[in-house]
């Protein structure tokens, strides 16, 4: 192999030398009277080149066939080595494919590292992110942001598409016309929005996602220019985006033109998300600094706007931009790197095992090598034989590994957490194949080199087979590998142990509701058929009644958002009789609109007071129930029942147009009397350090299609999520649900049908994913490590058979012999465990952020994994040791 590479490098020099040599001959010949002529130059050169080439092919071929013969003669060795390596290479390649797609290259946009997410925070309110944007901020940044090269705002809603097939619930992102110039992406077919389409009053147009276009319209180009209805609004289809386009995430089905106007001023509420492209040379820190100074200037840009004075106050609104990449993969980046590191550790352990196998073979073949040397084989020739063997094994392992990785990725894409961005695009690409190739090359070099480092003088080879006591030095390398395996395996065992503990704690965590046997789905009522809050509430109540009549159903209710789902309405809340000091912002809560019996249907615990029943909803009673976190935040030392609270709305003297449709509103949200306190439920993530204060109000007094968002009453009840609880499994069937809804309105679309259990599973999906993969890696590491220990001890025993025989003959106790060998292996294992413990303790903070309620130095986990590893390792030492102690004396003495 080395020969081969040198030859390639030397090729040009060879050609030059040949030319010089032939010219010399011609010069010599021309100086003589009776010259010996050279002959046909071209033919000579060709013939010589052929000789070079033949030699090369011949060498490679000879080495390869020799390698195959060697491996064939020892199939157990070959299979063990290939399987071990294939597992490790496959796992590493698959994990690399994930990291490459999700972490290294998550955004399919040109110069995507220049894209930033524009977000805001209220540090004084402990709201560190997720505030979003308003139209007023958009114009402020668009006009004056020098660090930005383009700004866009967008929001995502669920809408019902009708026309051209069944009514369907789709996710639609409504974006300013500036979005695509910022992302620098062209539609696959059709065109992007024109600037005029972004102005108020322009007709609504849509670009379809590639997936929706294929699924719903069969990829029909004729759909361009056709009109469909989105929530009843006629919408012309003007284009289709490329399949890779997934903004803001891969679940978006269409993009429509968001119309914004400067007429709304600051434009509360914060209902948009923002994205921008950094100007060349500008950094995120530059942008943050500049945007904060622009926020301070807002009172000049929108003089007298109550939204500005209320929210900006004394500079409390703060810009918190971050790169889009961080915003997209921030949560998953660390787990994925840790998983890649853990499979690399498995690969190292596998390499150590195979290296051990190679070393054993190299020693077993000392006589063969000695004979070859005596016959005149050079050092490089022998080295080539070993490298050829390891290359063959590695190549075979690489092919098997790629096949394994392919299968693993298919599983991963099918069952991986949907929170992984671009997960559906993960595949074996050229980059991953190249990575596998490099891995293979490295492993080849690693194993091929081992016998070379152990080249001893000829005499040692010749006597090697006959020595009765094995040299200590020869075991040193083997023991080092064994110790390293133990250390690496322990690190992985501890990590996976910590993850398992976290997962257990997370799953035994009380979610505050009963997740068993309940089906959920979302229904959105189109504005055209249900133009008012009253109409929407009536339709929801009719659907609930129909669903309640289904056989097996024990309770039905609905909410604007279930736990762990978006859809609630976040706002600050005022308490009656409590004066809010000027310049400060009152505390916030999430407001949900519910149908009657929501608390009972969800299985939430009513801690005090009463809940909202059907009658209360029907009468539109001005009541609310709050969760424990709300009670603690607003009434820390008082019983909240009987207190009155209301959603905070900016004071306004004159009605003004709303950005969306010219509606006006003048008036404050009503005071609601708290009638009950319920258990906390997780709002966004299972392991929330601080439970979110929540308030539930009857859907009949919340927001609706005829109430502008600026009224701040509550969430729009046009879209509600239903909960249908059955007494036992199976859940009520989708067909029955569909029939019940058809009886009310056959044009309504169902979306996100899933059980409450699935919502819970989804919330812990990333942790489950990380945990399962870490467990797999740790089990592989443990298995390979044990095989490694067993192999080394067995080998040492076999080398010392004669010595053991002599000891037995001299009257040594078999038990003491066993103990001696176990102790030898045990010392190495203990050393490995010590190193592993130090590594695990010092590297703990790396995985701290993945853990839930478990210290990265959790003594129980450390103790359990150490004892397990030690126990298994001692067993792996003891088995060969016991065999040694039971040796038959006569057999031993006859062996050599």
């Amino acid at each position: 192999m080395r020969h081969f590479i040198l030859k390639l490098v030397r090729r040009r020099r060879l050609e030059r030398d040949l030319e010089a040599e032939l010219r010399f001959h011609e010069e010599m010949a021309s100086a003589r009277d009776n010259p010996i002529r050279l002959g046909n130059r071209t033919r000579i050169k060709d013939e010589i080149r052929d000789a070079w080439r033949l030699q090369l092919i011949d060498t490679v071929w000879r080495d390869a066939t020799h390698g195959i013969r060697q491996l064939w003669r020892n199939p157990a060795f070959a299979v063990a080595a290939v399987l071990t390596l294939a597992l490790a290479i496959g796992a590493t390649s698959a994990m690399f494919a994930v990291v490459e797609r999700v972490v290294l290259n998550p955004l399919p946009y040109p110069k995507s590292d220049r894209l930033i997410q524009l977000d805001h925070s209220f540090p004084v309110l402990n709201l560190r992110s997720g505030i979003g944007m308003t139209a007023g901020l958009y114009y402020q940044y668009l006009d004056r942001g020098r660090a930005l090269d383009g700004v866009a705002i967008f929001r995502t809603d669920e809408m019902t598409v009708t026309g051209g097939g069944e009514p369907e619930r789709v996710r639609v992102t409504s974006a300013t016309t500036t979005l695509f110039p910022v992302l620098q992406v062209q539609p696959a077919i059709g065109r992007w929005f024109t600037e005029q389409e972004g102005a108020a009053g322009a007709p609504q147009v849509a670009l379809l996602s590639h997936a929706l276009w294929m699924r719903r319209y069969g990829g029909d180009v004729g759909m361009l220019g056709r009109s469909v209805a989105l929530n009843g609004v006629p919408t012309e289809i003007i284009g289709v985006m490329p399949a890779s386009f997934a903004f803001p995430d891969s679940r978006i089905d269409a993009w429509i033109n968001q119309q914004v106007t400067r007429a709304t001023g600051f434009g509360l509420p914060f209902r948009f998300l923002g994205i921008a492209r950094l100007r060349d040379g500008a950094t995120v820190a530059d942008a943050r600094k500049e945007l904060n100074s622009l926020i301070a200037d807002l009172s000049q840009a929108y003089p007298g706007d109550p939204g500005v004075s209320g929210n900006i106050g004394n500079g409390k609104l703060t810009s918190s931009p971050m790169t889009l990449k961080e915003a997209t993969v921030g949560d998953v980046e660390r787990p994925l790197w840790i998983l890649l590191a853990s499979v690399v550790v498995v690969l190292l352990i596998a390499c150590a095992n195979v290296a051990n196998l190679f070393m054993v073979r190299a020693e077993a073949r000392q006589r063969e090598i000695a004979v070859r040397r005596a016959l005149g084989a050079g050092g490089t020739g022998i080295a080539r034989l070993f490298v050829a063997e390891s290359a063959l094994l590695s190549i075979a392992a690489a092919f098997a590994g790629v096949a394994l990785a392919w299968g693993a990725l298919r599983l991963l894409v099918a069952y991986g957490p949907a929170t992984l961005p671009r997960i559906e695009e993960i595949r074996l690409d050229s980059m991953t194949i190249a990575f596998t190739f490099v891995l293979t090359l490295l492993t080849t070099i690693a194993f091929g080199a081992i016998p070379l480092t152990r080249r001893a003088p000829l005499s040692a080879f010749l006597e090697g087979g006959r020595s009765t006591t094995a040299g200590r030095r020869r075991h040193r390398a083997r023991q080092l590998l064994m110790g390293a395996q133990v250390a690496l395996a322990l690190v992985l065992l501890v990590s996976s142990g910590l993850m398992v503990r976290s997962f257990q704690k997370l799953r035994t965590l009380d979610p505050g509701f009963n997740a068993a046997s309940a089906l959920t789905f979302r229904i959105g009522l189109p504005n055209r058929e249900y133009p008012s809050r009253a109409a929407a509430v009536a339709a929801h109540q009719a659907i609930i009644d129909r669903l309640s009549a289904l056989p097996g159903v024990t309770a039905v209710s609905a909410s604007s958002a279930l736990p762990l789902q978006d859809g609630c309405f976040g706002n600050t809340v005022l308490v009656e009789g409590r004066v809010n000091p000027t310049g400060t912002i009152p505390p916030g809560a999430r407001l949900c609109a519910v149908a009657g019996g929501y608390v009972e249907t969800m299985g939430m615990r009513l801690l005090r007071g009463s809940s909202i029943d059907r009658g209360g909803v029907a009468r539109g009673e001005l009541i609310a129930i709050v969760n424990q976190a709300f009670a603690d935040a607003f009434f820390p030392s008082r019983d909240p029942i009987g207190e009155r609270v209301r959603s905070n709305a900016p004071p306004r003297s004159t009605p003004r147009p709303d950005g969306a449709g010219g509606l006006t509103w003048d008036g404050a949200p009503p005071w609601l009397t708290i009638v009950g306190v319920v258990s906390n439920t997780p709002a966004q993530a299972l392991a929330e350090p601080h439970p979110t204060p929540m308030l539930f109000m009857p859907m009949s007094i919340a927001g609706g299609p005829d109430i502008p968002p600026i009224a701040m009453l509550g969430p729009n009840v046009a879209t509600m999520t239903y909960v249908v609880r059955s007494a036992t499994l199976p859940l009520v069937s989708a067909k029955d649900v569909r029939r019940a809804i058809d009886a009310v309105d056959a044009n309504l679309a169902l979306a996100q049908m899933q059980s409450l259990e699935e919502i819970l599973d989804h919330a812990s999906a990333l942790m489950t994913f990380t945990m399962v993969l870490l467990i797999i890696a740790a089990s592989l590491a443990l298995m390979l490590g044990v095989i490694g220990i067993y192999g080394v001890v067995s080998y040492i025993v076999s080398q010392r058979t004669a010595e053991i025989g002599i000891r037995l003959a001299l009257g040594a106790q078999p038990q003491r012999l066993t103990l001696m060998i176990v102790r030898q292996g045990g010392v190495v294992t203990l050393a490995g465990i010590m190193v592993g413990l130090i590594a695990a303790l010092s590297g703990g903070q790396l995985i701290e952020s993945l853990l839930y309620d478990v210290s990265p130095r959790d003594p129980a986990v450390f103790l359990a994994t150490t004892v397990t590893l030690l126990g298994i390792a001692v067993l792996a030492c003891w088995l060969p040791a016991r065999r040694a102690a039971r040796l038959n004396l006569t057999e031993v003495l006859h062996m050599d």
Binding site: D17, L18, A20, E21, L22, F24, H25, E27, M28, A29, A31, I36, R37, L38, G39, N40, R43, I44, E47, I48, A51, W52, Q55, G376
Partner: protein
């Protein structure tokens, strides 16, 4: 074999080898035009001879060939085979 035999006498360059073969065979054998250099390169690749650049008697850069121990062994066995063969041929012919 002739080439190896010629080089056995010492280090020499290609033209000298051709001349040596020519002279040794009493000008009976002349290395076939165009076959010397391919033969030299094949021998070098087989490890029977080694080469080195040096300065010739007329002060030119020339490639010098030297026989290796492997080459010596090869020629010894070849010569043995050859003399056995030629002896056999001789015996057959002299009957």
């Amino acid at each position: 074999m002739l080439v190896l035999h010629a080089i056995q006498r010492g280090t020499m360059h290609g033209y000298a080898i051709a001349q040596t073969i020519h002279l040794l065979s009493d000008e009976v054998l002349k290395v076939e035009e165009g076959s010397l250099y391919p033969a030299l390169h094949r021998l070098e690749l087989d490890g029977a001879i080694s080469s080195k650049w040096g300065v010739s008697e007329n002060n030119r850069k020339a490639k010098y060939y030297t026989i290796t121990s492997k080459g010596r062994k090869a020629i010894a066995s070849q010569e043995k085979t050859w003399s056995r063969l030629s002896a056999a041929v001789h015996r057959v012919l002299s009957r």
